[in-house]
């Protein structure tokens, strides 16, 4: 049972970071950006290139990978999403376009690096930490700590900085924010660059835990979307939703088998949306 608790913490840490990242993007541009799945994958592959192929020291390889992924994410916004603003497109069109961008990113990575599972671990395999009868690897501990740090950073940014205030205003009422002189463009650019860095770093941590394959991004982004839909826009609610989803998946995997994890997660989403009188309004407001 203690192993289930630890596994819940590990997967919840990934779900919460992705859920919060998607929530920040949603506040800025009002659609679920599926191309974030490509950035989640781009980070580890950049790391593979800088660290394993070019043999750049780990710290600098990390910085270069996160920066490059973040720039790719910003370029996607600048070259594609930004153009949609002028054409009065619906959020549905942006959502579907983001699916298209994810497909492009995933397949470009597949062509460059191949479709097979690869590893970025060329460090010595360390012994796991025993935590109340449950095993936890050092990289999993880093993932949990990273999610805690990320939550604190988001809380500070959203409540203590001018940028956070601008983003909250845009999220609440976009036209009003524009008419009140809030720097909408600058806020969106900062959001894309920041989210790009944090999500690619999460992707690198994930890759150190379970290796990399070009298709790994979609599943985790969908979990983040489930967390975001159930949790709404509140940071604490997203954290609670992440923990509940993770607990349900791990308990379900324990009782009926790990191959049904995705079914459990999406059944929760279906059940939640069917039970809500107007579920969509939660994330918007």
């Amino acid at each position: 049972m203690s192993q289930i608790f630890v596994n819940t913490l590990i997967s919840a840490s990934f779900f919460i970071v992705i859920g919060l990242a998607l929530s920040l993007i949603y506040r800025a541009v009002k659609f679920f950006d599926m191309s974030l799945a490509g950035i989640f994958v781009a980070g580890p592959y950049c790391m593979l290139f800088f660290y394993n192929s070019l043999c750049i020291p780990l710290f600098f390889a990390l910085i270069f990978s996160c920066l490059l992924s973040s720039i790719i994410y910003y370029v996607i916004y600048f070259a594609i999403y930004k153009r949609f603003e002028h054409n009065a497109h619906s959020p549905l069109s942006l959502l579907l376009a983001s699916f298209g961008i994810y497909i492009i990113l995933q397949n470009v990575i597949s062509i460059i690096f191949g479709d097979r599972i690869m590893t970025i671990r060329n460090i010595h395999i360390q012994e796991g930490i025993l935590l109340g009868g449950a095993m936890l690897t050092p990289i999993q501990l880093i993932a949990i700590l990273y999610s805690i740090i990320f939550v604190f950073i988001v809380l500070i940014i959203m409540h203590k900085t001018k940028y956070g205030l601008c983003l909250r205003t845009i999220g609440e009422n976009f036209p009003l924010a524009q008419s009140l002189g809030v720097s909408v463009k600058k806020t969106i650019v900062i959001t894309y660059l920041t989210v790009g860095i944090f999500v690619s770093l999460l992707g690198i941590i994930y890759a150190y835990d379970v290796d990399i394959v070009p298709t790994m991004g979609m599943n985790i982004i969908m979990m983040g979307i489930i967390v975001m839909i159930i949790g709404g826009n509140g940071i604490m609610k997203i954290i609670i939703a992440g923990i509940i989803l993770s607990l349900a998946i791990n308990l379900g995997a324990w009782y009926i088998g790990s191959e049904w994890k995705e079914v459990i997660a999406f059944a929760i989403l279906l059940f939640y949306l069917l039970m809500q009188p107007r579920a969509s309004h939660k994330a918007v407001n």
Partner: protein, 294 residues
């Protein structure tokens, strides 16, 4: 010649799929990424009924229509509660659940190994063996489905659906029961996708969950958008172009290891390009993705 016949058969199957999705997208204004799931359900139900119970084509067809219609009706219910973006995730959830069920319920579906040895279709006393016969059969089905879609387009039913698509509140104030209309069109669309599944399963004689993924749904959506959502001939043109275009890559001489990836990139690029610059598609008039679509 066999190669050309095969390509024509595949085009026929995708015309049926695109036509059925066009009924949902073009007339109700909803995007469903579960179309591949309905396609897969049709294929698996048909394969299992034929292999385990040796049931006739018409019994299988009836079962697939009933199952897909019921599932389609259940799936459309949340659309009355949530916005279009959220409805897309509901269909995504359905797609993932169906795919995982096909993949994990090994005793019934054979899991990732799929079902092989699916016998050819038998229509009364006509056993369809050769590719030419399949082409003829699929041609007949394409004709019937195009005829049905044509009748829907010209009927008052279509005009009500268009009114619902443009302004649900207005349609309600006119006394139209939008729930019944949306359920009907979703049930028809899902059933037709199931029919495409039956034809595919018996033509290829082998099915596995890999043929019915979310990417397959995105491909069908791309066909409809590129051809023109809501138009009569748009899905037909979209299916012809998107099935034929990757075949050109084969002749250019790209290595097979990257051909599949290039094909996916091409679909992605076309999808984004059309959404951005030509939301009405190649021959459509309904600008699907604009806020005040006309």
């Amino acid at each position: 010649m066999d190669y050309i016949t095969h390509i024509l058969i595949i085009i026929g199957i995708y015309v049926i799929l695109a036509k059925s999705l066009n009924l949902i997208m073009g007339f109700s204004g909803l995007i469903s990424v579960a179309h591949s799931a309905f396609y897969g359900i049709g294929a698996y139900v048909s394969a299992l009924m034929t292999l385990k119970y040796e049931s006739s084509f018409f019994v299988t067809l009836l079962c697939v229509i009933v199952i897909n219609s019921l599932l389609g009706i259940i799936l459309i219910i949340p659309s009355f509660k949530v916005e279009k973006q959220y409805f897309l995730f509901i269909t995504f959830a359905f797609q993932v659940i169906v795919f995982n069920t096909l993949n994990n319920w090994i005793e019934l579906t054979g899991g990732a190994m799929g079902i092989s040895g699916i016998p050819p279709l038998v229509l009364i006393n006509w056993k369809i063996l050769s590719r030419y016969e399949y082409l003829l059969l699929i041609g007949v089905f394409v004709f019937i489905i195009c005829l049905v879609c044509g009748l829907i387009v010209k009927s008052p039913f279509n005009r009500v659906l268009k009114a619902i698509r443009e302004d649900e509140v207005l349609a309600l104030t006119l006394g139209k029961n939008i729930i019944i209309y949306k359920m009907t069109i979703f049930a028809i669309g899902s059933s037709i996708a199931g029919i495409a599944g039956i034809l595919y399963a018996h033509y290829i004689s082998f099915i596995d969950p890999g043929s019915f993924t979310v990417m397959e749904s995105i491909f069908i959506i791309s066909i409809v958008i590129i051809g023109g959502a809501g138009s009569y001939w748009g899905p037909v043109l979209g299916a012809i172009l998107l099935v034929l275009f990757p075949e050109i890559l084969r002749f250019i001489g790209f290595p097979s290891s990257i051909a599949a990836n290039l094909r996916q990139i091409l679909y992605g690029v076309l999808l984004v390009t059309f959404i951005m610059w030509k939301p009405q598609g190649l021959i459509g008039s309904y600008k699907f993705f604009l806020r005040n679509a006309k």
